[in-house]
C-alpha cells in the first residue's frame, strides 16, 4: 500500500478551524477523571516523612511508634526499600548520560529540604499523615551547598559525596581563534551577566500515582499522572529488573504537567517499591506544600554574555558562559538543558560566531526538571542583551534587531551551531508585532508620559523554537486508526495529552484525512497495554509527530476503503471520494457505499474484497520526522512602572507567531496565552526562595505567587502561517513558545521604562520590592 500522503486532505473541513474541544464536556461537568479519582479495591494511602534539613547526616531514624499506630499498614525506610532498585536511567537521555547517585529514600544523609526519608502506608491518608508525625529523625547538620558558582569548584563540600564534585555535567570552552579575532577587531564589545531565578512548574494537579504489585500474577499496574506512560513503564521495568510486558501503565485526565510529569521521580519509585513489598495497591497524592518544596524546580541559571558588534550595529560574535543550578536530584540525567541553550543562543539573528561553555552544578536544593522550553535561557540571555547593547549603541531596540534579523532572502540559513533554518519568519513576525502594538505611537506616548513623570516602557523578544526535536525516542510517533465493524473510528495513540487538546486536534486530522465526521472518531491514549510504544506528550512535538502519524494512518485506511469500494462497485479508484463516512462516485452521489458497508466487507464479506487484499480496515503508522521543525515568534509587551511603589502594570501584550499550518487556531492561541502568562508570572511574581540555610521560604500559594486573572493583561495575537516543509501537514510545534518569549519581553519593557533613571535590568524577579530597590539604588547613585 502506498505511503505517499496526498498534499491536501480530501475535504479539509476540520483542519484549520477552531473546532470546540471534545475534552470539555466531561471536564466542565465534573466528570474528568484525574489521578486522585482512581479508587481500586483494597487501596492504601501513602504519605512521606521528608527532610527538614538541606544537608546533614541522619543520626537517628525511629519509625517504631508510627508502625504501632492503628491503621498503619507499613512504614518503610531506605533499609527496607532501596535494595529493590536495579537500574536508574531515562530513555530520553540514555544509559550513559551522567546521573546523580540514585536512591528512592534518603539513606544515611539528606541532601535537600523535602528529600523523602520514609514512607508511611495506611488505611487512609489522614492516618498516614498521623504516622508521619510519629517518625523521629535526628540530624547532624552539614553546611549546605547553595551557590552554584562556588560549588562548581568546591571538592570539599559536595552534594553527592559519591561523585566527589558538584559539577553535574559540563560543556567545556573550545579554543576558537576566529571568535577571539572577531572580538579583538570589533568596533564595540559589551559584556553582561544575565540571570533568572528559580521558578516552579506548578501544575494545578500535583503529582501522584496509584501502584499495585500483584504478587500472584507478578505484574505491576500503575495509574499515573504523567506526560509519558511508556517512559514510566520502561523506567520501572529497568528499575525493578522485570520485563516491560509485566507492567501496565495508564493515565487518564492529567491536570497539567509543563515538564514536571515526564519522568518518574523518587516518590514514584518509593511507592512502587512499597507496593512490591506489600502486594497491596497504594495511592500517593502529593500535597501542594510537597509540590512547592520537593517536586522539581527550573530556570535557576545565569549567562555571562560577551557581544561583539561592528560599526554598523551588526553583531559579529557572541560568547557565553552558562551556569545552571540543577539542585540535588534533577531529571533527566544531570538536568542540564545547556546543549539546546547553546544550539539556540544566536536565535533569529545573523550572528556568525558563537562561543559557549556550560557547567551544570548540583546544590542542596530541589532538583531541576524540564519546564516549558527548558533551554529558554538562550532567549532570556540574548534578548535582554539585545536591549542592553542597543541602548549602549544609541539604537532603538527594534532597529538593532532589524539590522541583524534573519530575513526570508537569507533562507535556508545556517547558524554557527550548524542548525539550518529552512522556513522561519522572524522578520515578518517582528514587523507584524510592531504593527499590532503600533510601536511608533507607543514611543510618542512614552515621550509624553515621561514629560509628566510617568514611566512607560516597551519590550521586544524574538525567538526561534526548535520544536518537535527528533532525537532518539523522540524521533518517531505512532497512531492506529481502526474502522470498527459499525463504521466508526478508533484513533489509538501513544500521546499523553494533558491540556494540549489532542483529543480534538488529532481527531480533526483523522476526520479530514480519512473522510469521516469528527464525532465518529474516538480518541484513545495513555494505556501501555493498548497504545504502541511511544514517547508521550512534551517538547512541542504533538502536532508534527503525533499529527504526522495520525495523518499517515488515516491516509492508509482511506486508500484501503477506496480500493474496496472500487472493487465492489467496479469503479475506478480515482473517481471515488469519501466525505462524512460515505464513499461515492464523484458527480454521481447515488452510487455510494457507507464506511459501515465497507467495514462489513472488510471484516465479514471478505470474499468480496479485491483479490489478495488483507481483510480488516485499520492501519498503524509510525511517523519518523525531521530532526527539527522550526517555529518562531515575536512578543512585544508594554508596561507602566510606578517608581514610588515598584509596581509594574502590563498595559498591552502582543504575540505574532508562525507555527505553520494551524490545526486548530483556538487551541494555538490558548497554548500561546498559557505560556505567556507563565512567563509573566516568572518575571513579576514567582520566585522559589531559599534562605541561607537552604530552607525553602515559599511553601504555600500565599508565598509562591502564581498570577491570577487580576494581574494578567489581554493577550493579542497575530499569525504568520508558513507551512513547515519537513512534514506533510506543514505543522510546526509551538506549545512551549509562549513561555520562552515572554520573560525577556517583560524584563525589557521594565528596563525601557526605567532607562531614563539610568537603570539597567539584568536580573529577575521584578516584583515591587526588586523594582523599588533598583529605583532607590539609581537615586542614591545620582545624589
Amino acid at each position: 500500500m502506498s505511503t505517499a500522503a496526498p498534499a491536501t486532505p480530501t475535504a479539509a473541513r476540520f483542519i484549520g478551524t477552531s473546532v470546540k474541544r471534545r475534552e470539555d464536556r466531561r471536564m466542565l461537568t465534573g466528570h474528568g477523571h484525574y489521578i486522585d479519582d482512581v479508587v481500586v479495591p483494597g487501596l492504601l494511602h501513602a504519605a512521606f516523612v521528608r527532610s527538614d534539613l538541606a544537608r546533614g547526616r541522619i543520626t537517628r531514624l525511629d519509625v517504631e511508634a508510627a508502625r504501632e499506630l492503628e491503621g498503619v499498614r507499613a512504614v518503610y525506610t531506605a533499609a527496607d526499600l532501596n535494595g529493590g532498585q536495579h537500574e536508574y536511567w531515562q530513555t530520553m537521555v540514555g544509559r550513559d548520560a551522567p546521573y546523580p547517585p540514585f536512591r528512592a529514600l534518603a539513606d544515611g544523609d539528606v541532601r535537600y529540604v523535602g528529600e523523602p526519608i520514609a514512607i508511611v502506608v495506611a488505611d487512609t491518608r489522614y492516618i498516614a499523615e498521623d504516622g508521619c508525625e510519629l517518625v523521629e529523625v535526628d540530624y547532624d547538620p552539614l553546611p549546605p551547598v547553595l551557590d552554584p558558582h562556588v560549588a562548581a569548584d568546591d571538592t570539599e563540600q559536595v552534594v553527592h559525596p559519591e561523585l566527589g564534585t558538584n559539577v553535574a555535567s559540563e560543556i567545556p570552552a573550545m579554543p576558537n581563534p576566529d571568535l577571539e579575532a572577531a572580538f579583538a577587531s570589533a568596533a564595540h564589545v559589551f559584556e553582561e551577566t544575565i540571570s533568572q531565578h528559580r521558578h516552579l512548574q506548578v501544575p494545578m494537579e500535583t503529582r501522584g500515582l496509584v501502584a499495585h504489585w500483584d504478587p500472584g500474577a507478578r505484574t505491576l499496574r500503575i495509574w499515573a499522572s504523567t506526560q509519558s506512560p511508556h517512559e514510566y513503564r520502561a523506567f520501572f521495568a529497568r528499575y525493578l529488573a522485570i520485563p516491560e510486558n509485566c507492567i501496565r501503565v495508564t493515565m487518564d485526565d492529567v491536570g497539567g504537567g509543563f515538564g514536571q510529569k515526564v519522568f518518574a521521580m523518587r516518590e514514584d519509585m518509593t511507592v512502587v517499591l512499597a507496593t512490591r513489598k506489600l502486594g497491596r495497591p497504594i495511592k500517593w497524592i502529593e500535597d501542594r506544600r510537597e509540590n512547592l518544596v520537593a517536586a522539581s524546580s527550573a530556570r535557576a541559571e545565569d549567562v555571562r554574555v560577551r557581544m561583539a558588534v561592528d560599526a554598523e550595529g551588526r553583531i559579529q560574535a557572541v560568547d557565553v558562559e552558562h551556569t545552571e543550578d540543577v539542585g540535588s536530584y534533577p531529571v533527566p540525567g544531570p538536568g542540564s538543558s545547556a546543549a539546546f541553550t547553546a544550539m539556540m543562543f544566536t536565535g533569529p539573528y545573523k550572528i556568525p560566531r558563537l562561543g559557549f561553555r556550560n557547567r551544570a552544578v548540583f546544590t542542596n536544593t530541589n532538583g531541576r526538571a524540564p519546564y516549558r522550553g527548558p533551554w529558554m535561557m538562550e532567549t532570556v540571555g540574548r534578548e535582554i542583551m539585545m536591549d542592553l547593547v542597543a541602548r549602549e549603541l544609541g539604537l532603538d531596540p527594534a532597529e538593532f534587531r532589524l539590522r541583524n534579523i534573519v530575513r526570508s532572502e537569507d533562507l535556508p540559513f545556517t547558524t554557527p551551531t550548524m542548525m539550518v533554518y529552512d522556513s522561519v519568519t522572524p522578520h515578518e513576525t517582528l514587523l507584524q508585532a510592531v504593527d499590532l502594538v503600533d510601536y511608533e505611537a507607543f514611543r510618542a506616548e512614552q515621550e509624553r508620559a515621561r514629560a509628566e513623570g510617568r514611566y512607560l516602557g516597551i519590550g521586544i523578544s524574538v525567538y526561534v523554537e526548535p520544536s518537535s526535536m527528533g532525537f532518539g525516542l523522540m524521533s518517531q510517533e505512532v497512531a492506529t486508526v481502526r474502522v470498527d465493524s459499525s463504521g466508526k473510528v478508533q484513533l489509538i495513540m501513544g500521546t499523553a495529552s494533558h491540556g494540549q487538546s489532542l483529543e480534538t486536534t488529532m481527531a480533526q486530522i483523522v476526520a479530514d484525512h480519512l473522510g469521516v465526521d469528527i464525532d465518529d472518531v474516538v480518541f484513545i491514549q495513555g494505556d501501555t497495554d493498548i497504545a504502541p510504544y511511544n514517547a508521550g506528550t512534551g517538547g512541542s512535538r504533538s502536532a508534527v509527530y503525533s499529527g504526522g502519524a495520525a495523518r499517515e494512518a488515516s491516509v492508509r485506511v482511506h486508500e484501503k476503503a477506496i480500493e474496496i469500494v472500487a472493487h465492489a462497485m467496479e469503479a475506478a479508484p480515482e473517481d471515488l471520494e469519501i466525505d462524512g463516512g460515505v464513499i461515492s462516485v464523484r458527480g454521481t452521489p447515488s452510487r455510494s457505499m457507507t464506511l459501515r458497508e465497507v467495514a462489513e466487507l472488510a471484516y465479514v464479506g471478505t470474499d468480496s474484497l479485491p483479490p489478495g487484499m488483507e481483510p480488516g480496515l485499520e492501519a498503524t503508522a509510525r511517523y519518523k520526522g525531521p530532526r527539527f521543525t522550526w517555529s518562531n515568534a515575536a512578543h512585544i509587551c508594554t508596561v507602566e512602572v510606578d517608581v514610588a511603589t515598584g509596581h509594574v502594570t502590563i498595559l498591552r501584550y502582543v504575540v505574532s507567531e508562525d507555527c505553520g499550518v494551524m490545526i486548530n487556531p483556538m487551541v494555538v492561541d490558548g497554548q500561546i496565552d498559557g505560556g505567556v502568562v507563565q512567563g509573566i508570572g516568572g518575571v513579576l511574581y514567582e520566585h522559589m526562595i531559599y534562605d541561607d540555610n537552604g530552607n525553602p521560604l515559599t511553601t504555600t500559594f500565599l508565598d509562591y505567587l502564581v498570577p491570577t486573572a487580576a494581574e494578567v493583561p489581554d493577550i493579542e495575537h497575530g499569525h504568520i502561517e508558513t507551512p513547515a516543509p519537513g512534514n506533510p501537514g506543514g505543522y510546526k510545534g509551538m506549545g512551549e513558545g509562549g513561555a520562552i518569549g515572554s520573560p525577556p519581553a517583560v524584563v525589557n519593557a521594565v528596563a525601557d521604562a526605567l532607562a531614563p533613571l539610568g537603570i539597567r535590568v539584568t536580573n529577575q524577579p521584578l516584583g515591587p520590592n526588586d523594582v523599588f530597590a533598583l529605583v532607590e539604588a539609581a537615586r542614591a547613585a545620582t545624589t
Binding site: 465534573g30 466528570h31 494545578m204 491540556g499 493577550i715
Partner: protein, 172 residues
C-alpha cells in the same frame, strides 16, 4: 478516632455518613459522596479548585469540615446542570476555550455561578477581580474572562444570561 454523624444535601440528594470531625468537606464530597468533580489544588484556601456552593455562596470546601456542613445545602460542579447537559456558564467556557487540562475548571465554573448571580452585568475589571480567587496554570485566564463576559452578555447559547441551572434552585 471518634466519628460523628452528618447529613448534607448535595445536588438535591441527601447524604448521611459517619465521619471524623477533622474530615474536610472536600474529602467528604469526594470520598463519601463520590462526587470527584470537586478538586483539591492546594488544600490551603488559595487556588479555588475546591469551590462549591453552600446555601448559594461560593465556599472553599478544603477549608471547611464536613461536620460544619451538617444540615446544609451544597451544590457541586456535578449539580450545576442536568446530567449530560451544559449550563450557560459551562457552555461559555467551552465556546471560549476557557479550559485546557480541566483541573481548575470546576472551581472556576462554580465561582462564576456565584459571582454572576450576585453581579449579572459585570465589567471586565470586575470579572478579573472576581476570578482572582481561582488559579489556573494553563489558560492564562484569557478564555475564562471571555467566557464570563459571554454569559453576562447573554450569548452563551442558552435561553437566559443569568445562571439559572439547578445550582441556584438548590441553593435558594
Amino acid at each position: 478516632m471518634n466519628e460523628v454523624p452528618v447529613t448534607v444535601t448535595v445536588n438535591d440528594e441527601r447524604y448521611r455518613a459517619f465521619v471524623e470531625p477533622r474530615k474536610t468537606l472536600a474529602d467528604f464530597l469526594r470520598e463519601d459522596c463520590v462526587l470527584t468533580g470537586t478538586h483539591l489544588g492546594c488544600e490551603h484556601g488559595v487556588c479555588g479548585a475546591c469551590t462549591v456552593l453552600i446555601d448559594g455562596d461560593a465556599v472553599r470546601s478544603c477549608l471547611m469540615f464536613a461536620v460544619q456542613a451538617d444540615g446544609a445545602e451544597v451544590v457541586t460542579i456535578e449539580g450545576l446542570a442536568p446530567p449530560g447537559e451544559l449550563g450557560p456558564v459551562q457552555e461559555a467556557f467551552r465556546e471560549e476555550h476557557g479550559l485546557q487540562c480541566g483541573f481548575c475548571t470546576p472551581g472556576f465554573v462554580v465561582s462564576v455561578h456565584a459571582f454572576l448571580a450576585a453581579n449579572p452585568r459585570p465589567s471586565r475589571t470586575e470579572i478579573r477581580e472576581a476570578l482572582s480567587g481561582n488559579l489556573c496554570r494553563c489558560t492564562g485566564y484569557q478564555g475564562i474572562v471571555r467566557a464570563v463576559e459571554r454569559v453576562a452578555a447573554g450569548i452563551a447559547g442558552a435561553p437566559t444570561a443569568a445562571p439559572t441551572a439547578t445550582g441556584d434552585e438548590a441553593a435558594s
